[in-house]
Symmetry: C2
Subunit: 228 residues, 2 copies
DNA sequence: GTCTATAGAACGATAGAC
DNA sequence: GTCTATCGTTCTATAGAC
């Protein structure tokens, strides 16, 4: 809150914790490494945050708040642009995936550090996960669920829930991974090219969301030749 | 390898390690909890596997080998069924995602334990990740990349690499998460219903893979109204 | 092949001086 | 607000008896 010349201890602790939690996860990171990296010590971390778990939540809350604001602002924009009814699905998706991907790529850690942390969240213990998802992410989740509901009127509620699950899974799965794309493309695609990621990701997600419905019966394995 | 009456120590250690690594990750799980859960002790784990890291790799290798065989068998089947040229994309995808999802759901831990472990892999330290992906998963990756290349002749190599990245990210992201689908559907969708997951996932992935190409220039954010 | 016992290091947390 | 020092616990790994 207060403005100190270069960076205050609290901020240095958050920055260092972000790097270590991203690289090694909640259990893999240690307060000793974090505090020494922040040019501070164990006692400082406990003074400012109380516990390792509270530090973790603080790290995420600091990043998620501006991202949520940007996501909602862009959704407002998209919805008011389309004063007529049909809100373009691609624009909703870009408002959803763009802010976290961009923020993740440009944060303090330098490169793709925060992105890894976002990708890790879904594997962290349920206690941590719930504090984030039911807290800072709650409104964003509800607003975008409603927007997708309007953009995809033909899907049942169950189908839409499955597909939102897939959309979030794709985004976080992509955020979590730093090696796979390079491996799959023999080094020709660059995962740190965020604009490229968004330009490829949005049409993929839109295509998946708009896909023909799942067959209600066809043994699921021999789904066979349909469309195109 | 040897057949002992109920289960030998080595197998009990693998089973217990699978549960703990899935639930808490590599760093979060401890050999003490694992060995006591397996009715054994620290020394037994080191005798059979050498180190915690080797135990982790052994846990994954045990599961991945039969899954890889099943994936490749089903891909062979699909390709020979389609003696004519166009192999149905949905069938290739079902051969890719079905075996790990089914195996993950029916393994020792009872429920979705192994699935969580698969989902975690992409966040584990690179040293662990590489030992799996460059080892037991190598041939599977190459064979399916070739199959998708043939099924989607209109995509450039770069676009295909991006989209395979998204497909794997979606699958592992979905595997990693146990809470999100229930939250998004207010409890109406069941993530442990594997047939349902596959029936929903395959059309989503096919729709994404077949989507219109990404716009090469349009500010990426205002992708605007196109198609449908 | 399985055990007990323990070495040796790292962990989160806290007390108390400044 | 930041530090040093330390408590009490837990960790992986290993030595050596059986």
């Amino acid at each position: 809150m207060t403005r100190s010349a270069p960076t205050d201890t609290r901020t240095r602790l958050l920055d260092a914790a972000e790097r270590h939690f991203a690289e090694r996860g909640f259990d893999g990171a240690s307060l000793r490494q974090i505090t020494s990296d922040a040019r501070a010590n164990l006692a400082a971390a406990h003074y400012h945050f109380g516990s390792k778990e509270d530090l973790f939540v603080a790290v995420l809350a600091r990043r998620i708040e501006p991202i949520s604001r940007e996501r909602l602002d862009r959704l407002d924009q998209v919805e008011s642009d389309a004063a007529g009814e049909p809100v373009p699905l691609e624009a909703v998706l870009a408002a959803f995936v763009g802010p976290p991907l961009r923020a993740g790529a440009s944060a303090s850690g330098g490169r793709e550090c925060l992105l890894r942390l976002f990708g890790r969240m879904q594997s962290e213990p349920e206690a941590l996960w719930k504090r984030i998802v039911d807290g800072p992410l709650r409104e964003t989740r509800k607003r975008f669920a409603a927007a997708l509901r309007r953009a995809l009127p033909r899907l049942t509620d169950e189908e839409l829930a499955w597909r939102m699950h897939f959309v979030i899974g794709t985004m976080t799965g992509v955020a979590a991974d730093q090696h796979r794309l390079r491996l799959l493309s023999n080094g020709r695609c660059d995962p740190s090219d965020i604009d490229g990621t968004i330009r490829q990701l949005v049409p993929f997600l839109a295509g998946g969301l708009r896909a023909a419905k799942a067959p209600s019966r066809s043994s699921a394995t021999a789904a066979g030749r349909r469309q195109r």
